[in-house]
Symmetry: D2
Subunit: 342 residues, 4 copies
């Protein structure tokens, strides 16, 4: 439920509304614009009589939000969210390149790849220390050792780190090293984990990069973001990475959900980035996917890169080499410049 106050509503009116919400066992989230005060009601609104609110002086309009997400909705937060990661700004007109290996494999691999990412003028460094693998016998990442190599690469290059948390017990170690916590596609519907990440980061407001589940609907994706926001952290970057359909197979790894970019931009003010590597699964179509995502309105790209894709321990087939990364970033930058002019 969203309550819009009249322009001349007094602070006392606002306080009364808040009080009634709290009395019903719910939470009020007050958003003050220049000339507008909007109060969101969080919790099971069936407990709140609409009439009880409507009769309070100063209340202009009450809207029932039927969708299960509020805090992350554009309806509730009409402006674009801007997220600061050290000196990098994501969203609200800024375009961000995130690159790095699928998995941290060794100190050398991580440093060599980070230097490539830095030279290509990407702004954030990715790399997985904890890898959720379908095959329980596949390489599962280096764990905290991997985080240390990531950190070393970050210190050398100055690039902030994005890395994945795969379970509740990894939240603290990752928060110690990373600048952005990533939630992977397989965990997007692990609501407990989402909530715990929201709670653990509610104080520091460390940004969270949430990947879309490969069969999550748009509503489910935004509801997953809402779990984090509701737990206290609205610094969320949404990441599309392809979905699973009847097609996934020899030509492509997933079905690229480029077309969801403008849909999300309508529904939410959160930054929306695209992962062409997992969508494509094949190196040679990643440049086209990157350009298409830029044209569709994405706020950034997260690209898998490796200093030596042929010897990568995971996802080498979809990792760009140094030259390929340079060319992809450069052509995207050109297109961004063009789009801003027009």
């Amino acid at each position: 439920m969203i309550i819009r106050m009249k322009k001349n509503a007094s602070e006392a009116d606002i306080a009364t509304v808040e009080k009634r919400i709290v009395q019903a066992g719910l939470k009020a989230s007050i958003s003050r614009g220049e000339s507008l005060v909007i109060i969101g009601v969080i919790g099971d609104i069936t407990r709140l009589e609409r009439d009880v609110i409507a009769e309070i002086s100063g209340v202009e309009e009450i809207t029932r939000v039927s969708r299960p997400y509020k805090l992350v909705s554009r309806e509730f937060n009409p402006t674009d969210k801007q997220i600061k990661i050290r000196n990098v700004i994501v969203g609200k007109g800024n375009f961000t390149f995130i690159a790095g290996p699928c998995a941290v494999e060794s100190r050398d691999q991580m440093l060599a790849t980070a230097r490539i990412v830095k030279k290509a003028q990407c702004q954030l460094l990715r790399g997985g220390a904890y890898k959720p693998r379908t095959n329980p016998y596949s390489f599962q990442g280096l764990g905290e050792e991997g985080l240390q190599y990531l950190k070393e690469a970050s210190v050398e290059t100055g690039l902030p780190i994005v890395t994945e948390v795969t379970g509740a017990d990894k939240i603290e170690p990752v928060m110690k090293y990373a600048d952005v916590i990533q939630i992977g596609t397989r965990n997007m519907r692990s609501y407990d984990l989402l909530q715990q990440i929201g709670e653990h980061t509610s104080e520091t407001q460390m940004p969270v990069l949430l990947k879309r589940g490969d069969n999550a609907t748009i509503e489910e994706f935004l509801s997953a973001a809402e779990y984090i926001a509701k737990a206290g952290n609205e610094n969320i970057i949404l990441c599309l990475r392809g979905i699973r359909t009847f097609e996934s197979g020899s030509f492509i790894r997933n079905t690229a959900d480029i077309g969801i970019i403008p849909v999300l931009k309508k529904e939410t003010g959160l930054p929306v980035i695209f992962d062409p590597s997992h969508a494509a699964g094949k190196r040679d179509i990643i440049p086209s996917y990157s350009l298409a995502a830029v044209a569709a309105g994405a706020d950034g790209l997260i690209i898998e890169t490796h200093y030596s894709p042929q010897t990568a321990r995971c996802d080498g087939e979809q990792s760009l080499s140094e030259n390929e990364l340079n060319e992809t970033v450069s052509s995207c930058r050109h297109m961004l410049k063009f789009l801003r002019q027009s």
Copy 2:
């Protein structure tokens, strides 16, 4: 099976290969490049002994093509196909805008809309006289009367016509009026119809615009094109229009298959166009889909337009108004110019 001849292969060698193929009850399709002769074998190649061919002098290499399409494959026809429709050229570096209403509704509607299409500098006019509708009680199109209005609009504006054939008995009437025969998504796997269209157009080589079935794999889509090519007409324009997944619903009509554009461009030299209207299903995201398709490498767009979308008898929600069409075409043209420079 694809047979590559040696550079110094004689005409007699080529004739011998052809003879052996024919003796096996198969068809030989000979393609002569500047310094290269390639012979495709069409038919059930299990009947042909590989050794019988390999021992003929002048034969360089025999490749088993495991995929069920040959004539339309880039492997067999490495260069981009160029298709001429009166004075319009589709493919091979040309970008084509096709626009018009979902259905021809009346003479006035068709003429008014065609003028908008012309003014927006689109090159081809679309409009359905035969409409395949899921609901048997919905408006099914004006039939031949609709073709006459289309023709009148074409004569006035000079725009060639693209219109759909929904059954074998509509091939002849449509060929009388149209410049390009469209096969809709629901009929992509009606192989009989594809073959008949291929046969009927084998003499005139009237181009065929083939839409991807909404659950067709890439291999099935190209195999459907192969049916037409094999029947005698290789002037085929492939059209992506969104697929059906778990998502199709309130936010979008279909899942946009923009990511298939570069995959098809690798696999085939046929022109690949995109239909943002059916993919999106909502007017306001069509411009983003159009730009993304351009960036992904499409050879054209087919866009639903109506002089009065609010009163359209079908698909009004996804039809652009005059202003929207102008803006979309104009921003796509700007992006094309940019892409050609870079």
Copy 3:
């Protein structure tokens, strides 16, 4: 729109309703039960003012049917449909076994397989003379020659024939030989073909076996049946055969839609049969699928059988041998007996 007349409504009242419907350019379909007259309105009901009908004496209730199918709906025809094929009765409590090869390959193969089908006490013989194949270079069936072998096998065994029509020009030849016309999964949305089959059979009322499109929704499936019914033939047998999902792959060919059987039985009175062969794609799981379909309430099974599955020209992997067919039919019969007792 469905109009229910009062119990004491006169013939004159009924005639008046019919007249108003016809005046609006629509068709009235009058269904007389023992004490109940129901009038279905067929066509674009937006042309008919509800009030015009409501004020006619004898009208009890007017129901807007929002679903796009009427004639085939249980709402309109509450009782189970019974379809007579020579001396075989399908539906309304009868269970029918249909068996035979995927494709008619030769006279000998057809006769040998038909004898197996007869011995197993199946009631109908299937076999494809026209085969719609994804690969244009695969065996496409023997055509009319195949129909002749089918007929010969039918004459010898006394089993009526079910065989597929793949295009409009095959309707007449198939009607000459067959007892039931099959429409395959790839043509379920070829509405023109459905309508033509409905029209061609409107006089003889030859039954039509309609297979569900492999990505058709339940509503689309029933709407496709409605196309045939609306064209004049309501003798329709619905056939489920598995759908395409993310799973289709090495373990199974399609995702068995056994769960749709009870859903269809609620929605329509038409017989609903199941094709375990195409759903499974593997011989060894066909018996389980058959039993599950019986338990779920199917009215019959259509099973691929071959006198020599190892040498079958198509779909051998999913064809039962003589022994396997006998065992499957026998265990299904036992279960049917059990279900009727309980």
Copy 4:
């Protein structure tokens, strides 16, 4: 990798094989049948030279297992697994009925429903204390309070408890009260959680009921089970509950994966049960789904029941009333008896 030893292989041979495996940093799992010793190699087998093993005396055959699951595969464990839950035996020819409410709502609701479950002669009691909900504002379960009510109901009725763990911090509380730990569809790919549950239960061997992810392939489902087995607990019950396809909508909640039952029974010896409630989503088709699952070879059913479905706080639409539960269980029992006789 699976190593089959010769019949006359000595203990020394076996020890040598084991030593080589351990030297390569891998784990050996030795399985001794009456006349057969099989050694499974667990870990990244790329580190192990096949020849190193092949030359050891006593080694008969080395099989590379390409699928990512071993411990749970029938290839490795050919016999059916039997799982004991207090006095209830699941699997290996035993059929188990599990019933109870979607969520524990109150002490009274839980007790009233448990009595119904007991009277219907079901063997296990289900009920969610932690509910993973798509909508963050929906009722999320009573937590530990719910577990206490469950326990009380269990004590009174003597029925063992199945209840869901939604995050790592719930493992300990659930283990305190429950007899079987359930992992829900949304967490099937939360590999960290699976592993932790496997580790926490490795000592007690408390059984785990693993639900298939609603877009998990068969291989992924079995790999998820492998995570638990590899962590030390092979007492796993697999549960199918419907998948998400293009159909999920007004007629059904999910697409029933009844057809996967016989496929899983081929691939694994673990018990396979079916959840008709989540597959159907509608009360009236649950009986048909239950019978079909029995006919397809399931080892049990898990059915949502409520003493008052109309007032249930979640999933009331798919909860059976007392009468409906009695009838469903009774008709399934009849069918089981029939199937065992035939």
